[in-house]
């Protein structure tokens, strides 16, 4: 059963510019809401995708100049998958490590937010360069099902 009355991904191609991120946040919020996530989960999903795009702007396109970010949203009744494609310098795997939150200092929080929120996170380096970051968030009932299934 399709959750929004259609199937297939939604693609958003935006400038890698902080001023354009409100569009990303609005779309993530709307789709998450329609899938049926709770208010707090919607806020967190919006934050996670926003932070991933911020990382792209700050690191992948640092010193590169204007670039694009292509987001592919694949919603379903059980989960929300977001793919974030950039054409920048390529990801540094160390950049996906969390940091020690006991240390009070500015910065470094973005990846902590992403890892705290999503259930699956993977990145690949596609032909042609850049990075594809794929994140998935399951609906709570799906998570429960997974846990029950695993424990059998």
């Amino acid at each position: 059963m399709a959750f929004v009355g259609f199937t297939g991904p939604i693609i958003l191609d935006v400038p890698a510019d902080p001023a354009a991120m409100f569009l990303v946040r609005a779309l993530v919020g709307k789709i998450s809401e329609r899938i049926g996530f709770e208010a707090e989960e919607i806020d967190q999903l919006v934050l996670a995708v926003d932070e991933a795009c911020t990382n792209v702007i700050r690191h992948a396109y640092a010193g590169v100049g204007a670039g694009r970010i292509i987001l592919t949203f694949t919603p379903s009744s059980d989960y929300f998958e977001v793919m974030i494609r950039d054409f920048g310098k390529g990801a540094d795997p160390a950049g996906f490590e969390g940091r020690d939150l006991d240390e009070l200092r500015p910065g470094g929080l973005g990846i902590h937010f992403i890892k705290s929120v999503v259930d699956n996170l993977e990145y690949t380096v596609p032909p042609g360069g850049g990075t594809v970051l794929k994140m998935m968030k399951f609906m709570p009932k799906q998570e429960k099902h997974k846990i029950e299934h695993t424990s059998q």
Partner: protein, 111 residues
Amino acid sequence: MNIQVNEKRPGIFVVSLAGELDMSSSPQVRSVLLPIFRKKVSHLIVDLAEVPYIDSSGIATFVEALQLARKGNIRFSLAGAGRTVESIFDLAYLRNVFEMAPDVNRLIDGE
């Protein structure tokens, strides 16, 4: 991002923000907020009542402000954060690091 600075009482400054606090607006907030610590200030309050969203760059700005406050022995408070903003501070494990109050007036009246 709309930013207003008011010295409500001698040494008590309130910085009122209106708009989303993200990578786009954080530098502007930082450029207004941090220089206040160089003034004769005993208590700096940031009013977040009109801030519907904050990301890591916004939180980083407040962490920097808190560090300056601690160095200068200045009280630094955040007031009026809504549910979304509070939950993001929770996710950062920083809600208890900051003094967070329901609204600005209650903080000032308590002085």
